[in-house]
């Protein structure tokens, strides 16, 4: 590989970006990781001192977060994030797809409606959060709407609701996840059998049986905590999901619209010639072709929802524990309670969660590109 002038120029062009990213992204990630293994902040005299004495304490912070008595809030935050992600993704993808279908029907003023649905995405989360906070005030806002037609006002408490549904014990997590994965594997086995790939079906079925068996027997005895701890879906999140879906469904709509337009007309014609009605057309031709779009939308929206902070901060405030999320807890732990190492540990957990979503996607998409 000769270092021609062109190559030199290329290296020089990239060098500033590489250095900046190396320092400000990976360097800081490394420093946060180091802080999360330290005890900075546990002793209040050292937390904000000019020359703090910090020792490395290994996994203590992580142990506290996942098994500590007081950190029930963190574990509930993880559950909150899980439910929020699921409903946010379902809402955005579903609503986006629906809007894209409607706009694809050659309506008049399509350009106007497209812009209208896309507008919320141009707002920042803080603006959306503030506007929706006013609208979801229990004593005013949307609860007053029925009174315009003479009906009694709604009583739903929106963001201030304290009820929690779908409660489960934290100690039941291993067996529940095992069971879920077993069901998914069984589904894979079924579809492989239908496709005629016997060996793959066999392996999947065996794994499903093994995992399911473990989940129902030994998995039940795995105790993550020495006492039962109930977690569930906080109904207060409904308002936040509403605001988030309102903001981001325009994005998925734009993606799907582009995807729908990209499906060649000949494919649809061919399907119609083969005798497919509209429903079958969408189910067997259009939707499978939209899969890559669904995947990339899921990745982008997924990583937004895992790290969400400003929407919750603007809508519910930092102190509303029922709508807490890990990013918000990290802010409170580090900057209010001065426990920097624990805040760093929460940050690292967030990083691992987002990396688990993004890295496989990048790996497969980049691998696909280089193969070409």
């Amino acid at each position: 590989m000769k270092l021609t002038r062109d190559r030199w120029m290329a290296v020089l062009m990239l060098l500033p970006s590489v250095v900046l990213i190396g320092v400000f992204v990976y360097g800081f990630i490394g420093q946060t990781a180091w802080t999360s293994f330290s005890d900075w902040g546990r002793v209040s005299s050292q937390a904000l001192a000019v020359d703090p004495e910090i020792e490395l304490v290994g996994w203590a912070n992580y142990r506290d977060l996942f098994t500590g008595f007081i950190d029930v809030r963190f574990r509930q935050d993880l559950v909150n994030t899980f439910f929020f992600t699921i409903f946010f993704l379902a809402g955005c993808l579903g609503l986006g797809l629906g809007l894209a279908f409607l706009l694809d029907q050659d309506v008049k003023g399509e350009g106007f409606f497209r812009t209208l649905f896309l507008f919320p995405m141009s707002l920042s989360f803080v603006v959306t959060g503030t506007v929706w906070r006013w609208m979801l005030q229990p004593r005013g806002g949307v609860n007053v709407l029925p009174t315009t037609v003479g009906l009694p006002a709604w009583e739903f408490r929106w963001l201030t609701d304290r009820t929690q549904i779908w409660r489960f014990d934290w100690n039941a997590l291993p067996s529940m996840t095992g069971l879920l994965v077993a069901v998914v594997l069984a589904g894979v086995a079924l579809s492989s059998w239908r496709d005629g790939r016997r060996r793959r079906a066999g392996v999947a079925l065996a794994s499903a049986a093994l995992l399911g068996g473990w989940a129902l027997t030994l998995g039940r005895d795995v105790a993550l905590l020495p006492y039962p701890q109930l977690h569930g879906f906080n109904v207060a999140f409904v308002g936040i999901i509403l605001a988030a879906v309102w903001q981001m469904s325009g994005y998925t709509m734009a993606l799907y619209l582009a995807g729908l337009r990209g499906i060649p007309g000949e494919l649809r014609e061919a399907a119609r010639v083969d005798g497919a009605n509209e429903v079958q057309l969408y189910r067997h031709v259009v939707l499978p072709l939209l899969q890559p779009i669904t995947l990339s939308a899921m990745i982008i929206l997924g990583h937004i929802s895992l790290k969400i902070f400003d929407l919750i901060f603007a809508m519910a405030g930092a102190d509303n524990a029922t709508t807490d999320v890990p990013a918000l807890l990290m802010y409170l732990t580090a900057f209010r309670a001065n426990q920097f190492s624990k805040g760093a540990a929460i940050a690292m957990v967030l990083l691992v969660m987002v990396a688990a979503v993004i890295v496989p996607y990048l790996w497969t998409s980049l691998r696909g590109e280089t193969r070409r």
Binding site: V43, S44, A47, A49, I70, W158, T160, L332, F335
Partner: protein, 410 residues
């Protein structure tokens, strides 16, 4: 064109030459509370011409945002010349133990402040190694607000103990009125500390913060039991209301009582235009008559600042009766200085000042006087555990665990 440019340049250079020095005052007094600070700054600039005061505020009630900004500045080596802080453990537990503040004993001796403030206040602002802040105002936390005309209408009087309150609670509810108006999260901690003071009394309450009394002690457990019963007498939609909206409920007649600090008096007098004693009345929160639960905004002297002399002048103004009498009537609080001129204050503040000078004083938990920031931040989790489970033991265990983990009282 060139002439204009040259004139502009000359003016700029002149301005640069004239602006000799400045001090930067960091606070969260923006919005409604801004005018009081502005008045102090005007007085300072009149007393010290040539020193410019940079008014650096960060909005956000009770300093929730300002504190985070302050931390990044201090850790980054760019301390403001002086910053607003709640006097007591909020300053000591965060900045004093980190060796970032200067001892102000010399200033107290110079200005004779050891005789000007109550001993309880000075003790709360001190450690073994000195005194760390100069208070500018005193707010009272354990006040119960009501409308006298409404109480007469319902035939009740302000209760003098929590058991009395719980007795009249059903009768008030029968009238379709909420006995106690409550607002969002921090107002619940505010209510809790009044309940704790009423149930435990001043001495045991103080013992909680020196860890002489454990949170799991039966006496402390009783606080949670009473608190739970009191919560049953509050409005359902508390979590969605600001403290002003809770006060509005009392003024509007949909609630009978509200426990709030005496900034509510400022709100009712100034914003709502009510007359103290006529449009609204007050009493010590049940069971705390004779005890003044204080919280205080104060300024300290950080180390490594630019203009130490200018800042000391600011502290001298802020701690003097004259400075406090400029600030407090506008703020709606009272001056900690014994020589404050009470004629400048309205009827409520006069009565508060009289109580300040005669009552026993204890510090507030919700406003940073008695417990360090780490404890206060985690106390929100304790409150959450209680509200979610309704179990006094669970909350007490959590509080005890947190006290141990953050080193409360050390």
């Amino acid at each position: 064109m060139l002439r204009r440019l040259l004139t502009l340049l000359a003016v700029a250079l002149l301005g640069l030459a004239v602006a000799q020095s400045q001090i930067e005052i960091f606070s969260w007094w923006a919005g409604d509370e801004g005018p009081a600070l502005e008045a102090l700054i005007t007085q300072y600039e009149a007393d010290h011409p040539g020193v410019e005061v940079v008014n650096a505020t960060v909005t956000g009630g009770s300093g929730v945002n300002a504190r985070a900004v302050l931390k990044t500045r201090m850790l980054g080596g760019d301390p403001p010349d002086s910053f607003q802080v709640h006097a007591g453990q909020e300053l000591i537990g965060t900045w004093v133990v980190a060796d970032r503040m200067e001892d102000l004993t010399f200033l107290y001796e110079e200005m004779g402040w050891f005789d000007a403030y109550p001993q309880g206040l000075i003790d709360a602002m001190s450690t073994d190694e000195g005194i760390w802040s100069v208070p500018v105002n005193i707010h009272r936390s354990n006040v119960m607000w009501f409308v006298p005309a409404k109480l007469e209408e319902w035939g009740i009087t302000a209760p003098t103990s929590w058991s009395e309150f719980l007795t009249i609670c059903p009768a008030i509810q029968a009238n379709g009125v909420t006995p106690l108006a409550l607002g969002e999260n921090w107002t619940q901690v505010h209510l809790w500390e009044s309940v704790a003071l009423g149930v435990l009394g001043a001495e045991d309450y103080d013992k909680l913060w020196t860890t002489e009394l454990a949170f799991t002690d039966p006496k402390a457990l009783e606080v949670w039991d009473v608190f739970g019963q009191v919560l049953d007498c509050t409005n359902d939609d508390a979590a969605g209301l600001s403290w002003q909206q809770a006060t509005d409920m009392v003024v509007g007649g949909t609630a009978a009582f509200n426990i709030m600090g005496d900034w509510a008096a400022g709100y009712m007098s100034t914003t709502l235009g009510l007359e103290p004693g006529v449009g609204y009345g007050w009493a010590a929160s049940p069971g705390t008559n004779g005890v003044f639960m204080w919280l205080s905004d104060a300024f300290g002297l950080p180390m490594g600042i630019n203009n130490r002399e200018g800042t000391l002048d600011w502290l001298r103004l802020v701690g003097s009766a004259k400075g406090q009498d400029i600030f407090n009537p506008l703020k709606g609080s009272i001056a900690p200085h014994f020589e404050s001129d009470l004629s400048l204050y309205n009827a409520y503040l006069k009565s508060a000042a009289a109580d300040w000078q005669s009552n026993e004083v204890v510090g507030s938990l919700a406003h940073g006087a008695v417990a360090k920031e780490a404890f206060m931040s985690d106390f929100a989790t304790v409150m959450e555990i209680y509200l979610a489970t309704g179990s006094a033991e669970g909350a007490a265990n959590a509080a005890q665990a947190i006290a141990g983990q953050v080193g409360l009282g050390q």
